[in-house]
């Protein structure tokens, strides 16, 4: 039995809007084990984004416990949170969030720049490895404007891999991509998952969930469903089934 990377217990998050208190999360509990590919689904207002922020150590829960890789996140300072994000989490965003006019390799190096344990040579080496892993070994020095949307997201994925995180956290990572490209990206995620990388994917698209091994559905700040997907679709197969493009 593989160990739990994420342990969440009775997690609550409240926001105060003027005099009203908004309960974004109303007591959520689940674990994520090493090597899992989890999609967190939910419509807007379900608490999905709040969950993502807390999982990503960008935000702190009001109550309850959140443990990532054995570290209790609650009560950590801003700086300690930054270190956790730097060493344990790889972020992927819907809009890629690459630095403009900056080459792919430099974009990938970015997280390591904030880790003083990594030397310049190692940083470069690891960035090249990560880019090769996502199939961009030939485009190390291209800037985002010279890359397609799918390629830009691959750079972002390489960036999330470069610090060897315990978990990759993707926020609507295919939201800006067409179906074909998003299937390509999903098949890359599946491949990485097969290599043992834990992935948590926040999305509202049900077909994305079919590619994951487990789905957690949130509604009104509570877990509505949490089920293992016994019939995981292969994104590569789905991609092959798509009608051929004429161009």
């Amino acid at each position: 039995m593989s160990k739990a990377i994420i342990k969440i217990e009775d997690l609550k998050r409240e926001f105060t809007m003027g005099t009203e208190t908004v309960h974004a999360l109303r007591g959520i509990s689940f674990d994520i084990k090493e090597g899992e590919f989890v999609t967190i689904m939910g419509s807007s207002g379900s608490g999905k984004s709040t969950m993502l922020n807390i999982l990503g150590c960008l935000d702190q829960p009001t109550s309850g416990t959140y443990e990532i890789d054995g570290v209790r996140v609650k009560d950590l300072s801003r700086n300690e949170l930054a270190t956790i994000r730097n060493e344990k989490i790889g972020f992927i965003f819907q809009s890629y969030n690459l630095l403009a006019r900056t080459s792919a390799i430099e974009n990938v190096e970015l997280p390591l720049l904030y880790n003083s344990k990594v030397s310049t040579e190692e940083r470069r080496k690891r960035a090249i490895e990560a880019l090769e892993k996502v199939g961009l070994g030939e485009r190390l020095h291209h800037t985002p404007s010279q890359l397609s949307g799918g390629q830009q997201q691959r750079v972002a994925i390489a960036r999330s891999l470069v610090n060897n995180p315990v978990m990759i956290l993707a926020d609507e990572a295919t939201g800006n991509l067409d179906t074909r490209t998003s299937y390509e990206i999903m098949s890359l995620f599946q491949e990485l998952n097969k290599q043992g990388i834990t992935i948590t994917f926040v999305t509202h698209e049900p077909d994305i969930a079919t590619f994951s091994s487990r789905t957690i559905v949130l509604k009104d700040g509570e877990v509505m469903q949490d089920y293992n997907n016994h019939n995981v679709q292969s994104a590569a197969n789905e991609l092959a089934k798509l009608p051929k493009q004429d161009d």
Binding site: L58, A82, R85, T102, L113, Y114, R159
Partner: protein
């Protein structure tokens, strides 16, 4: 290591935004350059005034007879005959703050050598005159005390006189000239001094023993002036007081009576001139400080806009592990780099401008080291000061809101 990385990040950001950076720098560059150039002009003017004066003998003290009133008509000082040789002797004997002194009698006349003649002035003095006026001899020698006592007909002449009465370039020393028909033997030529600050040709002179000029040319017994030099420039004001005191006793003036003479030191001239140029410097510094301040505000503006514009980038950096301090340092380093680079370019431009002003506009300049140090320090401080606020703002951003910022 960490700082080195932040340094790299900051330089990268600067290089990526060349135009914006350059425009920001321009404020600092012009600020620093104008401080240096303006102070150089100010210092140069001050120095040139001082050297001009010190060429006249900056510790020089002159005593002239005071103006008198005859029948309600005020008289020119030169017609007064109240300054006498015994006044000079009293000063010579009693004054402790004077290193040299000489009686001066002056007259105008025609210098004649063969068929050449030239109108000039003759000054009757003693050998100490050269020390007081800070004049060297170009050739020949000064007359001696013995020649003064015997009223010898010897003279030294200035370059202008040489040019006009010895037009063929013959050696004047040893030749005979006539001044108002009195023959003089030329025993020396004064080194060229050019014009003084008031445009008088200092080389258009004939110098002779005062006894000779008194008896043989002017036929007078009084003195026109007494010239002396104070032991030092600092002591010059005290020497003025001392000489005044001696002369008051000598002229038996009551306490209620005004001086019937004028004692002047160059110190007064110097302070008048330097206070003028001091004011000039203050004015220039004020103008320059304003341009530095504007440059600084320019930096703040750009950094502020830059923080806003890069909010999303800051959010991303924080998401991948940048701490608040990292972001703060990044922006601070950026601001400091901009202001220091601007400062260096400004110093170069300022020095260039100074050379240009000196060479092509013929304005005396002098680059003071302090102006470089000050303007450079000010611009570094400006960078930190005006970079701090936007950097602080950037570091305090919430990563969630920063990431969502559009």
């Amino acid at each position: 290591m960490r700082l080195l990385n932040l340094f790299k990040i900051a330089t990268k950001a600067i290089v990526l935004n060349k135009t914006r950076t350059l425009l920001t720098m321009l404020g600092i560059i012009i600020g620093v350059a104008s401080v240096i150039a303006m102070l150089a002009i100010g210092e140069g003017s001050k120095e040139s005034i001082r050297t001009t004066i010190s060429a006249m003998g900056s510790n020089m003290i002159t005593v002239k007879a005071g103006a008198d009133t005859r029948g309600g008509v005020r008289q020119e000082a030169s017609v007064m005959e109240s300054l006498t040789l015994s006044d000079y002797k009293a000063i010579k004997k009693q004054a402790t703050l004077l290193s040299y002194s000489t009686p001066v009698v002056e007259g105008k006349g025609q210098v004649i050598n063969g068929s050449n003649n030239w109108p000039s002035s003759i000054y009757g003095v003693n050998p100490e005159y050269l020390n007081i006026k800070v004049v060297d001899l170009q050739s020949g020698s000064m007359f001696t005390d013995a020649e003064v006592q015997t009223a010898a007909k010897v003279a030294l002449i200035g370059q202008t006189v040489v040019d006009n009465v010895f037009p063929d370039g013959e050696e004047p020393v040893g030749q005979m000239i006539r001044f108002n028909n009195i023959p003089f033997k030329v025993i020396g030529v004064l080194e060229e001094k050019g014009e003084n600050t008031f445009g008088q040709d200092q080389d258009d002179v004939v110098i002779a023993p005062y006894t000779t000029v008194q008896k043989r040319i002017l036929a007078i017994t009084h003195l026109n002036q007494i010239m002396a030099s104070a032991v030092s420039e600092e002591e010059a004001p005290n020497a003025v007081l001392e000489v005044s005191q001696i002369l008051r006793e000598q002229h038996k003036l009551m306490d209620t009576e005004d001086d019937d003479f004028h004692v002047r030191s160059m110190e007064e001239l110097i302070s008048t001139f330097s206070s003028t140029s001091e004011m000039l410097t203050i004015l220039l510094v004020a103008v320059a400080s304003i341009s530095l301040l504007i440059g600084g505000i320019g930096i703040m503006n750009i950094m502020y806009v830059s923080v806003k514009e890069r909010t999303k980038e800051i959010g991303l950096r924080m998401a991948v592990g940048a701490k608040g301090a990292d972001i703060l340092m990044q922006f601070l380093i950026e601001a400091i780099l901009i202001s220091i680079t601007g400062g260096v370019l400004g110093v170069i431009l300022g020095l260039g401008a100074t050379v240009f002003i000196e060479k092509f506009l013929n304005w005396p300049t002098s680059v003071a080291l302090y102006s470089i140090v000050i303007s450079f320090a000010v611009c570094a401080v400006t960078g930190i000061f005006f970079g701090w606020y936007p950097a602080r703002k950037a570091s305090a951003l919430d990563p969630i809101t920063a990431l969502r910022y559009e």
